[in-house]
């Protein structure tokens, strides 16, 4: 009870306290209300802080010197200072001095001047600030190539952490994801190992960890092998192979199932259920009934085509297998199975003739057929044999393959040529098979015969081929009989030719009179330079010796009139004269002497007033008597030429040597052209080129130094390639 009372009292107290609080709140609110009302009427007045100051007129607003009528003088203040004992002598003295001094303060400078000074100072400051960029600017000007933006990140893949580092969670989805990650203590920043993994790693000793790692490696390797194998097997196009494989798998499965029945009955039951399900499905569907489009077409073909027939048969078999109720296998059912098999017409099971001795698939087929036959005949052994059959088949396959490989290798060793032929033929045959397999199976035996013939031909060919080639060549080279005859004619006169005859002629020629007249032009040098006679293997048929003499005389006659050399000399002198500047004649007849018809200006006057111009530079053909070289300037090229020396060069030789190497790809290798014509500035598309900041500038400076060294390395590595 007491406790109850206490509680009560406590409650009461609390209530009273709250009441009191309420009361104080009311007061405050009231005040606020009043204030609000009062402020509504007039604007807020500025509260004046009251100050007490000694003055005649006391204003409630400010302090002023009104009433005294005068300004406060220094003397007034001084007086009081003198009187006060607290003030130090020093200040007193200073004040006195101040009173006595008459100087006024200087006027402040006018606005313009101050601004000018300020500008000057600012300029100096900024100049100093900016000058730290000078080196970079110079360097960039000199740089062969600039790449913008300057702070390019290294290309290539980046680590996830680097990419994620600057990224923040924003959307609710991301938040959710990250929360989840955090909860599960998954890595957010460093995804190399999860904490759990790290812990587990720590838990293991080094040895254990190594073993574990090795195991994992092994498992991975095995998996990859398995995958590779599966892939390879999947790629095999042979239907037969897959069929066999499937059957083998089936067998395997059955075996396993049998084992399972013994060891793991529950698992077996499940398997059974699965089989039952598949059976149900099969029964529901018409999948392997002979009712599909394909099956119908096959049915039509079946009459003529063994393969079609077989395919049909297989399908039916499949249906039967699937729809078969799976119970514990008994002999009766097997028999019924066999009966079902036998319902299919007999010709289906007829063994096929030996088709191809080379084609392993065909061989496989044959053996398969035989085994089937054996199966049919020996029913008792069948079950046992059937199991082995597929394995045998697969084994046989491989064996044959190996055998074939060996054979092929042998062939390769024996002769390379034949192999190519064989291969070709094989290919051909395979093609043939694929084409005609479905339709004319029987005819193939003949074909293979042909093929064998071909191979025999191929073996025989080397000699034959050569013969053929010779024949062809002959056809090309010798067109027809006429041609042959002509060739013979051409060849015939050869032996008749005598090399001795022309020499006499040569002697004649050299003994020819060297020049007709003596001229300025040195004829010896020009035209009658000693000509060496040439021995000719056969004489020209057209010109006989007598004829030649006649011709010479005729030519001499023909060219007797026109003197080639004198004409040329005239021409040359004319040109030279045209090139020489004319003499300027300034003589005025009649000045200083008598003038008139028939009177010439006197000699002294002519001498005086005829001005000779400076001689032109020596002609190019000055020393070549038999050559006239035009002195005209080629103005057409001039419009394409450089006429003013560009900046750093001081003479033409420097500039010309600097452009002497062509830059086109016609004269240079690809790499050199690229190097020579690289652009001065490279900008990355879409990238923002921001102004360089001071920190970056330092970086760039360093980088450029490094780049230079890199360049040289690049060159050297390039040249390495050609070793």
């Amino acid at each position: 009870m007491a406790a109850d009372e206490e509680e009560l009292s406590i409650n009461e107290q609390a209530i009273s306290a709250s009441e009191e609080e309420e009361g104080s709140d009311d007061e405050r609110k009231h005040k606020k209300l009043l204030e609000a009302i009062s402020s509504m009427g007039s604007r807020k007045r500025k509260k004046q802080n009251e100050r007490s100051e000694a003055s005649v007129q006391v204003s409630e607003f400010f302090v002023n010197a009104e009433g005294t009528g005068e300004k406060v003088n220094l003397s007034d203040l001084l007086g009081t200072v003198e009187k006060t004992s607290g003030a130090s002598n020093k200040t007193k003295k200073q004040l006195r001095n101040l009173q006595s001094s008459k100087e006024t303060l200087e006027l402040p400078l006018n606005k313009q001047q101050t601004e000018k000074i300020q500008r000057g100072i600012a300029y100096e400051k900024t100049a100093a600030e900016v000058s730290c960029w000078r080196n970079i600017i110079l360097q960039n000007q000199k740089a062969e190539q600039m790449v913008f933006p300057l702070n390019q990140e290294s290309s290539g893949p980046k680590r996830v952490e680097q990419v994620v580092a600057g990224w923040k969670v924003q959307t609710p989805l991301e938040q959710e994801i990250f929360r989840l990650l955090h909860i599960n203590s998954q890595p957010v920043d460093d995804p190399v190992l999860t904490p759990v993994e790290e812990q587990s790693l720590k838990a293991m000793s080094l040895e254990e960890a190594k073993i574990r790692r090795a195991e994992l490696q092994k498992a991975r390797a095995l998996q990859s092998y398995y995958e590779a194998k599966a892939k390879r097997e999947k790629k095999i196009k042979s239907k037969k192979y897959h069929r066999v494989q499937k059957k083998a798998k089936c067998k395997d499965f059955l075996k396993q199932f049998d084992e399972m029945v013994k060891t793991n009955p529950e698992g077996a039951l499940e398997e059974l259920k699965k089989m039952e399900l598949s059976r149900m499905e099969e029964r529901m569907s018409l999948k392997h009934q002979n009712s599909g489009k394909w099956a119908k077409s096959k049915a039509i073909m079946a009459k003529y085509d063994d393969s079609a027939r077989k395919a049909m048969q297989e399908q039916l078999q499949m249906n039967k297998d699937l729809t078969q109720k799976i119970v514990v296998p008994s002999d009766d059912e097997h028999e019924s199975n066999e009966e079902g098999l036998e319902t299919i017409p007999d010709f289906v099971n007829d063994s096929e003739p030996v088709i191809d001795s080379v084609n392993p698939w065909m061989r496989g087929q044959l053996t398969h057929e035989e085994s089937e036959v054996s199966c049919v005949t020996t029913e008792d052994v069948q079950t046992a044999e059937e199991e082995n059959e597929e394995e045998e088949l697969v084994g046989e396959f491989e064996r044959k393959r190996k055998l074939r490989q060996v054979v092929e290798e042998d062939v390769v060793e024996v002769s390379d040529k034949e192999e190519g032929d064989d291969d070709d033929e094989e290919e051909e045959e395979e093609e043939d098979v694929s084409e005609f397999n479905t339709l004319f199976r029987l005819m193939r035996s003949e074909k293979t015969l042909e093929g064998s013939n071909q191979t025999r031909e191929g073996l025989n060919t080397p000699g034959q081929e050569d013969e053929d080639g010779f024949l062809n060549e002959g056809q090309i080279r010798v067109r027809n009989i006429e041609d042959l005859e002509v060739l013979g004619e051409v060849v015939d006169p050869q032996p008749i030719a005598e090399p001795s005859l022309p020499q006499a002629v040569a002697v004649e020629a050299t003994s020819e009179p060297p020049n007709k007249k003596k001229r300025e032009i040195d004829l010896k040098e020009v035209l009658t330079k000693e000509a060496k006679a040439v021995k000719v293997p056969f004489l020209p048929t057209v010109v006989d010796e007598e004829e030649r003499d006649e011709q010479i005389s005729i030519i001499k006659e023909a060219f007797a009139g026109d003197d080639v050399i004198s004409d040329f000399i005239k021409d040359k002198s004319k040109r030279e004269a045209a090139g020489r500047p004319e003499v300027v004649d300034l003589t005025l007849p009649g000045w200083g002497e008598w003038g008139g018809v028939g009177l010439k200006p006197s000699r002294w006057k002519r001498k005086r007033f005829r001005i000779k111009m400076a001689p032109p530079p020596p002609r190019q053909d000055q020393k070549l008597p038999d050559v006239i070289i035009s002195e005209n300037r080629n103005a057409s090229v001039a419009s394409h030429q450089v006429s003013q020396l560009p900046f750093p060069f001081q003479n033409t030789a420097q500039f010309e040597s600097s452009i002497r190497t062509p830059i086109g790809p016609t004269w240079n290798t690809q790499s050199v052209v690229k190097n020579m014509t690289k652009p001065k500035v490279i900008t990355k598309m879409g990238a923002i080129i921001e102004p360089m900041d001071a920190f970056l500038a330092v970086l760039v400076l360093g980088a450029n130094h490094r780049n230079k060294s890199k360049l040289s390395i690049a060159f050297s590595s390039h040249s390495l390639r050609f070793k």
Partner: protein, 588 residues
């Protein structure tokens, strides 16, 4: 199955662990030594030995005897000096002594670049692996006695098939031309028969008779077009024989040359005109009246695209489309010039004249190197890419070797007799084949060592496909050299034009036909209220008449007065100095 795997794995793994130790790492070394097993203790001695050797090695290394193998071929692969020289362009320029920084840098960088280019080119020279062939006789056997049949028999089938005859006796002596790639052959008979053949496959592209005299035939830039100089006009056909153009501006053309890099067809006519046709735009670039009579000897210099013409007065003249007069005129023969040819590098010219001489000229210096006397004189000449000279003397074709050297030749390298007069001779580019057009048709003759074995596939590719040809055509057109750049020196463009401003201005004025800097005449404004009367206009004109002259006069007068003044002042000073007395200092 899946359950089985791990078991198997572990088991196998354990086995493996037993069998195989993991490879030793250098950081594991100490650990292993610590965990030495008792079985291994036997082998420790050996190990220790090994260790000691290792220590020795490390010691040695420390001592400075570096055991690392030295690279026997350190540094860049050396380039043979000969190859380097082959690609040298001009002399290296050394930085002058007092050069400024910028100049120094410019020179150094340009030199480095040209050196790099030279080196790389020399290295890539390795990629020209083909060698030229040659003909070698037995002992005491002259190579010129070996018949074509023997050669064809001895050579491989494809090479042997390059010797063949086309019997075309009906339409008279044949002119011929090979395309730039050397695959296509164009033959034109005097009596109008024109045919183009892909001669290697013997595939006839077209054949026709133009029913007119044919003077010359020439392929244009590709095998798609060719020009035929007929009796009156110049015709252009396509490869199927379709007539594309009849160019009536070009009449009586006797000889033609095609300048492949300029896309210019140069023609020489019976009327003495040398004309240039720009094939890319179909415009006549220049028509020059040579005033030398009938022009039936023509050749081009492949080095600088200058046309060489031979004349009946024994001279040879060199022409560019930019000058109305010959660049050079050389007196070569006493009789008329019969034929001439220029070698690929533009260094040598070979001429033959009616005086039955064969002369070799150095056309850089315009000096004759040597001459030889041919019994019948050469009616046609042709130089191969490798410098073999073929000369047609009557009905015999002779091929000479080493003609371009300084020593004269004494006997031909090969010879071949044909039927009828030889009318055209041409070497097939990139093949060892000489095409001969004669009275009885065409003969393709094998000349071992004639063709350049290495071709520039970007320029002339004998094996190019049609697509490549199209691409090449576009590129070639883009890189077409303008006809203004033709001149004796092809390097003219890379030289600074040092002509004076006046001369250049004069040339400019000449080219434009007016002076762009000239002031136009003063034209007084028309004013109203009678102020534009004739008298007033005249007055106003007089105000500005001779303005520049006046300016000049004013200037000179001013200068003179200033000079006078100065002189006066000087003389005054001198006078003053001379008259100064001691009392002058008191003068105020």
């Amino acid at each position: 199955m899946a359950a089985l795997v791990p078991e198997v794995l572990t088991s196998t793994h354990v086995e493996k662990m037993n069998k195989k130790k993991p490879p030793k790492r250098y950081w594991e070394e100490t650990e292993n030594t610590d965990q030495r097993r008792p079985e291994e203790e036997q082998g420790t001695a050996v190990q220790n030995q090994n260790k000691s050797t290792v220590k020795e090695r490390s010691l040695k290394r420390k001592n400075g005897e570096s055991l690392e193998k030295k690279d026997p071929f350190s540094g860049e692969a050396p380039i043979p000096h000969k190859q380097l020289q082959k690609f040298q362009r001009g002399e290296k320029y050394k930085v002058p002594a007092g050069a400024r920084q910028r100049l120094k840098e410019a020179i150094i960088s340009s030199e480095a670049m040209s050196e790099l280019a030279q080196k790389q080119a020399a290295r890539y020279d390795l990629l020209l692996p083909e060698d030229a062939g040659f003909l070698e006789g037995d002992e005491d056997e002259d190579t010129n006695t070996i018949s074509q049949d023997d050669i064809a028999d001895a050579a491989d089938i494809t090479s042997g098939s390059k010797y063949f005859n086309l019997h075309l006796s009906q339409f008279g002596p044949y002119r011929l031309d090979y395309g730039r790639t050397g695959r296509h052959l164009l033959v034109g008979g005097k009596k109008g028969h024109v045919a183009c053949i892909d001669w290697q496959s013997k595939d006839l592209m077209c054949e026709m008779n133009v029913m007119e005299t044919v003077n010359d035939v020439k392929w244009l830039h590709t095998e798609a077009m060719f020009a035929v100089a007929q009796k009156r006009w110049l015709y252009i056909y396509d490869s199927k024989g379709l007539e594309l153009h009849c160019v009536k501006k070009f009449n009586d053309v006797l000889r033609m040359q095609f300048l492949p890099y300029h896309f210019l067809l140069a023609t020489a006519s019976a009327t003495g005109f040398l004309q240039y046709l720009d094939v890319s735009v179909g415009k006549e670039i220049a028509a020059i009246c040579t005033k030398m009579g009938r022009l039936d000897v023509m050749s081009q210099n492949p080095h600088n695209a200058v046309i060489h013409l031979g004349h009946p007065n024994g001279t040879i003249s060199l022409w560019s489309p930019n000058q109305k007069e010959p660049l050079v005129k050389i007196l070569c023969h006493r009789g008329a010039v019969r034929s001439l040819t220029v070698d690929k590098t533009g260094t040598y010219m070979v001429t033959s004249g009616l005086d039955r001489k064969l002369k070799v000229y150095d056309i850089r210096a315009f000096k004759p190197l040597h001459s030889c006397f041919l019994p019948a004189g050469a009616s046609c000449l042709s130089l191969s890419q490798r410098g073999l000279l073929s000369a047609a003397t009557g009905d015999i074709v002779q091929v000479y070797q080493n003609v371009l050297g300084s020593s004269p030749v004494s006997k031909p390298y090969m010879a071949h007799r044909l039927q009828g007069q030889i009318w055209g001779l041409a070497y097939c580019p990139f093949e060892d084949v000489l095409g001969i057009g004669h009275g009885e048709g065409f003969t393709s003759m094998i000349v071992p060592g004639a063709g350049e074995p290495n071709f520039d596939a970007l320029d002339t590719n004998p094996f190019r496909s049609s697509k490549q040809r199209q691409e090449w055509e576009v590129k070639a057109l883009l890189e077409k050299v303008q006809p203004e750049l033709i001149g004796l020196d092809p390097g003219q463009l890379s030289k600074v034009d040092q002509a004076s401003f006046e001369q250049r201005h004069k040339e400019h004025v000449e080219a434009l036909g007016f002076d762009p800097l000239a002031k136009d005449k003063f034209k007084p404004k028309t004013k109203k209220k009678g102020r534009s009367s004739a008298g007033a206009i005249e007055k106003r004109k007089r105000k500005v008449a001779h303005e520049d002259q006046r300016d000049k006069i004013r200037q000179t007068v001013q200068e003179r007065t200033e000079r006078d003044k100065e002189q006066k002042e000087k003389s005054n000073e001198k006078k003053n100095l001379g008259n100064k007395s001691t009392l002058d200092r008191f003068r105020k």
